[in-house]
Assembly symmetry: C2
Homo-oligomer: 377 residues x 2
């Protein structure tokens, strides 16, 4: 139950055993075009897809270095580790960042974003972290942003590393120019493949204004794909096979069913754990993440003892807080394979761990309310 | 018999099935410190090691963006696709490149390198591609270069993506500051992990002068490793397991034995194929690569038909020429698992393919001379 890398189904693990092939062969073209096609289905887009052999941060970096040039004005909400990192990357490229800062666990509102667009007509792009893994916060107005970006003729870039596949993010419908994710989160593949989608408008810009480096230079990837359906560099083949298998599993289940399962499971986790007296870190319900359930520790509850008891006695792994939140919150991943079984077992294990540590929690209330919520599936 | 990615032993493939773990856990620390330790043994160094989740090009880029700043003078021999790419990367960072250009298949001599150092006292670094995959050329004076780099107080950087592990490259003995390779060549792991070694002097420089990007910013990797033995970003876990297993296999065989096996096998390939009338593309014997055996096509021999017959009828995969050499040469990988069996079967299959295509080649001479050479093992 980590906030990624998440559990990987055996079917996906076994896909890695396919033979190592020549990445300049017809076999590779078949594999990679299928990867692109299935990624397009999950991103709900007809845009170009590049599946980078790198972690999610690599895809995020690609989303920045191919678009941001010195002096470009960029609007970006910042309220946690990953949005701060994204902002630093943009500044590293010489971007002139208009930061909409809010405290961890709170999102900028759509009105604040709109105001920033009103005050910065010359904005080049809007960058946003869809789901802030460090705090379990999720932005819920991404459907409305393209009204602003299209009005100001700005690029719209979404870092959805820790959520895409777990909640709706229809790239074409919402007019997202560049969208990045990682395979090891809601898609439930092993870490190491990070796909990115690029609109025709952004692609044109990238080809005309390539960065000075190579590995994340997307123009190179377009050239190889548009030519012979190859990648410019040797890709991480076993991970590509695994990633394709994970996408197949999602598409077999049906995207809408996958989204619903994620939503219902996280609802059940929030409700069940709240009923046991644990409070969600994110106060406003509409700001809470579907894939990362962050909870405040009870008074005096020691992070390391709690998480190691949970792991050693019950083999349930959760993550601690990030940065300033270390020791103050813990985070339960709700992504990929997550199912009612995972939810019930996690609530059960947390209640038992708390009991062993001397806390008097109402396990029955937690389990019953969660079970109730799970009936929606 | 590709020039990478190469065959991966089953033992290495199966290592990928280890469970996906938390990359902030003690289990990960155990895995990653072991990866670092075994990489140090194969690099013959006590220097810092970073195992990047990226292809070899990623490690090469890291070796450039962390050292080269605008205006820095860099000496680099250029005689093929990969040395040209390295040179472009350096220029992309604003480096002032002193190129020692030679035709494909020929190396700059040590005297030419020495002359470049004599004429450029202010050189910041010497970059060299150890083994030019595109032409099957190998530089054989890397042991002597540190006399020059230490005299001029320059960094010494070796891109050994397609050879390290297949031939001696003792990083500490030869005073190499930065050395990069890829897991999918002589180490015989799947592609996707690319290790890099960094001397204390280069590490200090990198920490004090970090690049503006994140994914290949080695200072971040040092900080996480020196702190908690972690990596800054989610690593490609299954590939790390596989890479560790491949290193273990090499160390069990013994590095010197691995080097000898590569040398004897490539000797046998050059000799056997020459005895059948195929001429090595690289004229000077001392310039020929140990891991990539490049051969000129016989007059009128069509690349695509030759390679597809070899693949379809005999399941032996070799690569064509690169860039300008397309259709003129073919390249046989001699790396990783390569053994007398692979050599004999390749020569046999090539002789049969040539016979099927109507060429009158002396298969017996090819097989007998190769067999003779292989007795050295």
């Amino acid at each position: 139950m980590l906030p990624g890398p998440t559990n990987v189904p055996n079917r996906v693990m076994r896909a890695m055993l396919a033979p190592i092939i020549n990445h300049r062969s017809d076999d590779f073209v078949e594999l990679y075009t299928d990867v692109v096609d299935k990624t397009q289905q999950v991103f709900e887009t007809k845009n170009d897809i590049v599946a980078l052999s790198a972690s999610g941060t690599g895809a995020v970096e690609a989303g920045v270095v191919n678009l941001v040039k010195k002096g470009d004005k960029i609007i970006i909400p910042v309220n946690g580790e990953f949005s701060r990192r994204l902002s630093q990357l943009i500044e590293g490229q010489g971007g002139n960042v208009v930061k909409l800062e809010t405290p961890p666990g709170e999102n900028s509102t759509f009105d604040q974003v709109k105001e920033a667009f009103d005050n910065n007509k010359d904005v080049k792009a809007f960058y946003v972290v869809h789901n802030e893994t460090s705090t379990g916060t999720m932005v819920n107005y991404l459907d409305k942003v393209s009204d602003l970006t299209s009005r100001n003729d700005a690029f719209y870039v979404v870092d959805s590393v820790s959520l895409l596949g777990g909640a709706p993010l229809p790239v074409d419908k919402w007019n997202i120019d560049v969208c990045m994710t990682g395979a090891q989160k809601a898609i439930a593949a092993p870490p190491g493949i990070s796909p990115i989608s690029v609109s025709a408008k952004a692609k044109k810009y990238m080809i005309e204004n390539p960065p000075s480096t190579i590995y994340f230079n997307l123009a190179r990837y377009f050239k190889f794909y548009d030519g012979e359906k190859h990648t410019p560099f040797t890709p991480a083949l076993p991970l590509l096979y695994a990633y394709r298998e994970a996408l197949s599993i999602m598409l077999e289940e049906g995207l809408q069913n996958v989204f619903k399962r994620h939503k219902v499971c996280s609802d059940a986790l929030y409700t069940g754990l709240s009923a046991m007296g644990l409070t969600p870190f994110v106060k406003k319900e509409e700001d809470r993440s579907i894939s990362i359930v962050a909870l405040n520790y009870l008074d005096g509850l020691e992070d390391k003892t709690f998480r190691s008891t949970l792991a050693d006695k019950f083999k349930v792994l959760v993550a601690g807080g990030f940065g300033d939140l270390k020791g103050k919150v813990f985070r339960v991943g709700c992504m990929g394979e997550v199912s009612p079984y995972h939810v019930m077992r996690t609530i059960s294990a947390i209640s038992s761990t708390l009991a062993m540590m001397g806390y008097d929690v109402d396990a029955k209330a937690g389990l019953k309310t969660a079970e109730e919520k799970l009936k929606a599936l």
